[in-house]
């Protein structure tokens, strides 16, 4: 898997202007976009998923061009084949857990086919959601909501998974447990992942490569491999970045 991205986007809210200049390229399977809030990491993730259209630039996911302003390419979100885990999970409140997970497999008119039903059952088993199949998301705990949202994102078998601050909606003790659980799940599904976080511990425990964001631009990139070559660890590099960001 290879993520390649070089984009620009000018945004305006009131009189404030924000310039996003985001560029990185990595062939690692676990990428973390790390930085304080408002530094442009979530906007970058949204651009990868096709929810935000950059003013100019190129985005390639696994060699597949999903955006290229020069060639007029802009693959719509529905055809990018990336799963997206929203910060607040965005489970459909009017549907049950089972219907949420099967959402991307069901045709507009008609019902889930046999293969789709099997896939939903399989995912509910992996995520331990069988008993909650008929419940509405509002009755679920934070951890259960996250599992349901992950299962929903993985159901259509995406080529990559994008996670936007996956643990920020959880309490601290649960956060640690879900972090381990997520690592296990990602290993199980063996899917390339890009995760946005402002938490250095999360970045450290998850990343093969960390892309550091500051004020809308990429301020640095660290990979486990490069750090090891220099005889450092990734966590040292991240800690140095944190010190820089909050000095």
């Amino acid at each position: 898997m290879r993520f390649e991205l070089d984009i620009q986007k000018r945004m305006r809210s009131g009189k404030e202007e924000f310039l996003l200049r985001s560029a990185f390229s990595s062939s690692d399977r676990a990428l973390v976009l790390f930085g304080p809030s408002g530094s442009g990491k979530t906007l970058t993730l949204q651009a990868m998923a096709g929810m935000l259209t950059p003013d100019e630039g190129v985005i390639r996911i696994n060699g597949r061009e999903v955006f290229d302003s020069g060639k007029g390419v802009n693959v719509p979100a529905r055809q990018r084949r990336v799963g997206y885990l929203f910060q607040d999970y965005a489970l459909f409140p009017h549907l049950t857990v089972e219907q949420n997970i099967g959402f991307g497999l069901k045709p507009l008119f008609g019902r889930l086919n046999g293969r789709g039903r099997r896939r939903v059952r399989e995912l509910m088993a992996v995520f331990g959601l069988e008993k909650l199949a008929d419940q509405k998301p509002s009755t679920l705990s934070g951890g259960q909501q996250q599992r349901a949202a992950l299962a929903r994102a993985l159901a259509p078998e995406p080529e990559a998974l994008l996670l936007d601050e996956p643990f920020s909606a959880l309490d601290q003790p649960l956060r640690l447990r879900m972090r381990e659980e997520l690592s296990g799940i990602l290993k199980h599904f063996d899917i390339p992942t890009v995760m946005v976080t402002h938490d250095s511990d999360e970045a450290e425990s998850f990343a093969e490569t960390v892309v550091v964001y500051r004020d809308g631009s990429v301020a640095g990139m660290h990979s486990t491999r490069d750090a090891a070559r220099r005889g450092e660890s990734l966590s040292e590099a991240i800690r140095a970045e944190v010190a820089l960001a909050y000095e």
């Binding site: 998923a49 929810m51 719509p76 529905r78 965005a90 459909f92 959402f103 507009l108 929903r152």
Partner: protein, 229 residues
């Protein structure tokens, strides 16, 4: 005053009632389709002239019904822009028909659906629609499976208000469809005629029925608008 109740099977009561239900239902259905479509377009797209279009869509709510009636005469009257074409091409006459009453009621009811639908659709979190898109869904699917169901209660309450408004429509209907007993005389027009003719018993019954229906609609609407999730 004469409070004598009239026979509920009396044609003077039944005919306007059935006609009113037919006209108000069809007008509400038309207002629903057009109102929701307009609301979705205006809440999801930003373009030059959006505020102007929003004002135009709301206009029938604040304009005198007689002015609306006049506009309708200009458009669908026998010599009107659309009316003349309809008559010559299809032989369809809208003036002084119940179909004309449907159009008048639909125009008057439209802003109520439009306003409610717009507010309800604005309230649907964009992340739900984006979630559906990342799950491979096209725009029609996003609307039918996510936006519409999540805005459904607001839209339904708008429809009920629109139905009540369509039932009570008087001014524009009078100008476009007239007040022909058995053909275009709806409940509110029948009340007017009954009072004019000194038939207080009929007027009382009609007024009571209209009031009751409106109270039921308002109470149901209030229930619908209570938060759910």
């Amino acid at each position: 005053m004469d409070f004598v109740w009239i026979d509920f099977t009396d044609a003077a009561f039944v005919q306007p009632l059935l006609l009113t239900l037919k006209v108000a239902s069809l007008a509400t259905a038309a207002a629903l389709v057009l109102g929701v479509a307009a609301a979705y377009a205006l809440s999801r797209r930003s373009f030059i002239g959006r505020d102007f279009l929003d004002a135009v869509c709301t206009l029938p709510m604040v304009m005198p019904p007689t002015v609306l009636g006049y506009y309708l005469l200009v458009f669908i009257g026998r010599k009107g822009v659309i009316g003349e074409w309809l008559l010559e091409t299809f032989g369809i006459r809208l003036m002084f028909t119940w179909q004309g009453a449907v159009i008048a009621a639909a125009v008057v009811a439209f802003p109520l659906v439009f306003k409610s639908a717009r507010a309800a659709l604005e309230g649907v979190g964009r992340q739900y629609e984006n979630a559906a898109r990342t799950l491979g869904q096209g725009e029609l699917s996003v609307f039918l499976r996510v936006s519409f169901p999540l805005a459904f209660r607001g839209i339904l309450s708008g429809c009920m208000l629109a139905f009540a408004r369509a039932m009570g429509e008087f001014g524009a209907t009078l100008m476009v469809a007239g007040n022909l007993p058995g053909r275009t005389q709806t409940l509110s027009l029948a009340v007017y005629s009954a009072v004019q003719a000194g038939n207080d018993g009929l007027a009382n019954t009609l007024v009571l029925v209209i009031s009751l229906v409106c109270v039921i609609i308002l109470m149901t609407t209030g229930k619908l608008l209570q938060p759910r999730f």
